[in-house]
């Protein structure tokens, strides 16, 4: 039996556990190995199936996408794995529908009866908004818990312990503070929430940790930039609305204010750029202060130019697609007029246009966004992550906790956590 000559590492990037004695530990590089073409065929298949099953397939579609992105990211030479199942997402969805469906309906009807302007109505609306806000945070924590428990590396699962309701309490408190300060305290809120999550997360039985005092000073300026633009946009729109109300004719006012539109678009793009800048800096800061097991540190060096370029490209392409959908929808409405006792029925063309608009928004837009933005950004950022002291990972043991079995129903209903 011949001894096949096998290369020591067998793969690029260094292998954990294979250092020469006495040498400083090399940081292990995380690499992205996913091919765009594979993603394209996957997205195509997902879109077709989702369409054919009127949207039911989306849970399996999401699962397959995650499998692709997780498996395309490798630490050292060992890829991550996503072990979740579409069925789990689907069951989560059913459970939430059973609860949210009747309650939303009841809320709708009660509000209609009581009247939106009345004091009871105002109270009801406030209560409902607060409830939704809390539920969104519940959804966020449960997403993290589910996905971490379905992520594994070398067969060892991650996990998230801690209590959902403690998290919601913290999140709610910070939301109030952020609201009161008109959004200025947002970076601190994000750090507090990331801190709770990471300090309760683990890889196998090895706990993860985050330094809750991570220096946040460098984030303030980017955040203020990001905050300024919504204010500018709001001001512009308010001005346009006020002018048209005074002039009494929206169409004429729109035309006379047409010179404002380039400014609106510019402000919008700058806002997206500033928000992207903030998010990137936040990501780098948080990741670099997160540790696994006290010894393993992570650092990441993504390039702002690449990230922003992708963000803006995605925004422009999405706007074009949405514009096409809006044009289709307008066509549909122009072609039909319904009036009480003797309506003109919808023409076949109008129905087709409506269906086309819906399709574009629900299927084409996410597909294109995934192929451009998610692929590009994941590839760039994942490729820039490095971890040190990964030999320590050899000692990590599997945890016996399995994690949640139904998943993400709330997140699906509220459209949280797009990936």
């Amino acid at each position: 039996m011949e001894d096949a000559a096998v290369d020591d590492d067998g793969a690029p990037g260094g292998t954990a556990g294979e250092t020469t004695p006495g040498a400083a530990p090399r940081p292990a590089q995380v690499t992205f190995t996913g091919a765009w073409w594979d993603l394209f065929t996957l997205v195509l298949k997902n879109s077709i199936f989702t369409l054919l099953t009127l949207g039911i397939y989306r849970f399996w579609a999401k699962t397959e996408l995650r499998r692709y992105f997780w498996a395309s990211s490798a630490l050292g030479d060992q890829p991550f794995e996503y072990t979740g199942r579409g069925l789990e997402l689907f069951l989560g969805f059913l459970v939430v529908i059973a609860i949210l469906g009747p309650s939303s309906l009841l809320y709708d009807w009660t509000l209609g009866i009581v009247g939106m302007e009345s004091s009871t109505g105002a109270l009801l609306q406030t209560g409902y908004s607060i409830a939704i806000l809390c539920l969104i945070h519940v959804a966020v924590y449960r997403i993290w818990r589910y996905r971490l428990s379905r992520t594994s590396w070398r067969g060892i699962r991650f996990g998230l312990d801690g209590s959902t309701w403690s998290y919601v309490g913290i999140a709610f408190g910070w939301s109030v503070l952020v609201g009161l300060t008109l959004g200025v305290m947002y970076p601190w809120a994000r750090r507090a929430l990331w801190s709770y999550r990471m300090n309760n997360a683990r890889f196998g039985t090895t706990p993860m940790a985050f330094d809750p005092d991570a220096p946040i000073g460098g984030l303030v300026f980017p955040w203020l930039c990001a905050l300024v633009f919504p204010g500018i946009l709001f001001g512009l729109f308010a001005y346009i609305a006020a002018r048209s109300a005074i002039d009494g004719n929206t169409q004429a006012a729109g035309q006379s204010l047409a010179w404002l539109w380039p400014f609106v678009i510019a402000a919008f793009l700058l806002w997206i750029a500033a928000a992207g800048w903030y998010r990137l800096k936040e990501f780098v800061l948080f990741l670099s202060h997160t540790r696994v097991g006290g010894e393993i540190t992570i650092e990441t060096t993504p390039k702002l130019v690449v990230a922003l370029g992708l963000v803006i490209l995605n925004a422009v392409v999405s706007a074009v697609i949405l514009g096409a959908a809006a044009a289709l929808a307008t066509m549909a409405f122009v072609g039909s007029a319904v009036n009480g006792a003797n309506p003109e029925p919808l023409s076949g063309l109008a129905i087709a246009a409506m269906a086309g608009a819906g399709l574009t928004v629900l299927i084409v837009l996410p597909a294109v966004s995934t192929l451009i933005f998610r692929y590009g950004l994941t590839r760039h950022i994942v490729g820039s992550i490095r971890a040190t002291n990964v030999e320590a990972l050899d000692a990590v043991a599997q945890s016996s906790r399995q994690g949640p079995t139904r998943a993400e129903g709330l997140a699906d209903a509220f459209d949280v956590g797009a990936f």
Binding site: A4, G155, A341, A355
Partner: protein, 377 residues
């Protein structure tokens, strides 16, 4: 060297092994027996065996380092050292490229759940929502609907006015308490005096619009566009339309439709996965539901109008000519797309009315009819 009885390839395959209990990696060699893949440690000790049928390739991982897993949920992993070894293994491991069982894992759940979802959706939209909306509409106290109705009325008036370029309510709503308005009020009380549970505080609001139509709204309001009065050839045509709208109110149709619309939008929103959005689909769905089920509502309203006017000995036959006139303007479109029209074919309605009508007298005196025509001046 351990001995093997491999039916095919002889050279052992080099791999790295993760046992799923710790993250430590081990170098192993793989050999094949009749029914399993055997893992050997470097020391020559046999580590474990994986049944051949349970070995699967982990999807989407890099082709350079093929990953194998055992079974459906196993935590163990094997990483082949060489890409070519995967080709050798593909020949001898039957389920390598497949799910554990594609029918059971993937397709059957999808089909079953899609069918179940489609079935429940149909039941909900076709049966559940209309019936509960109907029940609720009949049992909600009038006070509650009046407030919802007031909001609906204002919105409707503004919308209709905007279509004709009128902005202020004063320009649209005609003066109350004119002789014409009083004549109509008298008609309303005559028509509803024998009804078991007549709509309370029924109000006919004349609108200074060119629209040829009338609407019944929740809260017992009827909007009557003066365009209908202008192009009517006799007072009985207008009386018949008013009777028809009263028929809708007696059966609580407007409230029912409002409840249905809310329910359908919510359902579609949840289904699509965005409870706040989904308006595009929801709008379309709403229009379809309204189209399919209002035909029955229209028949009920017609039946009530015929019965009420017959009882007061008013001649309802002119309504038939009204419907036929209106049908002539929309002839082909309406016939081709009847399923989406919110009304049954005008010709069918006309035929039914002529068949059932027994009354002979005018609904208004000449003076009353004159004042009605001048109502919005």
């Amino acid at each position: 060297m351990p001995s093997t009885s491999a039916p095919s390839d002889h050279a052992p395959i080099e791999a790295r092994y993760f046992d799923g209990r710790t993250a430590e990696q081990r170098r192993v060699r793989l050999t094949l027996t009749e029914d399993s893949l055997v893992l050997w440690e470097e020391t020559g000790r046999q580590l474990t065996r994986w049944p051949r049928r349970e070995v699967h390739l982990v999807k989407y991982t890099s082709r350079e380092t093929p990953q194998l897993r055992r079974g459906r949920d196993g935590d163990e992993r094997l990483v082949l050292a060489r890409r070519d070894d995967l080709v050798r293994l593909k020949r001898v491991l039957p389920n390598l490229m497949r799910h554990e069982s594609p029918w059971r894992e993937v397709w059957r759940p999808i089909l079953l759940f899609s069918a179940a979802a489609a079935g429940s959706l149909y039941l909900l939209v076709a049966v559940g929502i209309p019936h509960s909306a109907d029940f609720l509409a009949k049992h909600i106290p009038d006070d509650w609907t009046r407030r919802a109705g007031a909001a609906a009325r204002d919105q409707m008036i503004t919308l209709l006015g905007a279509v004709e370029g009128k902005r202020s309510k004063a320009a649209i709503v005609c003066r109350p308490k004119t002789d014409g308005a009083k004549a109509i009020a008298r008609l309303v009380s005559r028509l509803t005096r024998s009804t078991d549970d007549p709509p309370r505080a029924l109000d006919v609001v004349p609108l200074r619009l060119k629209l040829v139509n009338a609407f019944a709204l929740p809260g017992n309001t009827i909007l009557l566009s003066h365009g209908l009065v202008d192009q009517a050839e006799s007072g009985n045509e207008v009386a018949a339309v008013i009777a028809h709208e009263i028929g809708h109110l007696v059966h609580h149709h407007p409230t029912k439709v409002a409840l249905e619309q809310a329910a359908v939008s919510t359902t579609f929103g949840l289904l699509i996965g965005d409870i706040f959005g989904g308006s595009v689909m929801a709008g379309l769905g709403g229009m379809l539901v309204k189209g399919a089920y209002s035909r029955e509502a229209e028949r009920e309203a017609d039946a009530w109008a015929v019965e009420a006017m017959n009882r007061e000995n008013m001649d309802i036959r002119p309504a038939a000519t009204l419907f036929e006139r209106l049908a002539r303007e929309h002839k082909d479109i309406e016939r081709a797309l009847r399923y989406l029209s919110t009304h049954p074919l005008s010709e069918t309605r006309a035929a039914t009315i002529r068949r059932e009508a027994t009354g002979t007298e005018a609904a208004f005196t000449d003076d009353e009819w004159r004042s009605i025509r001048a109502m919005c001046d």
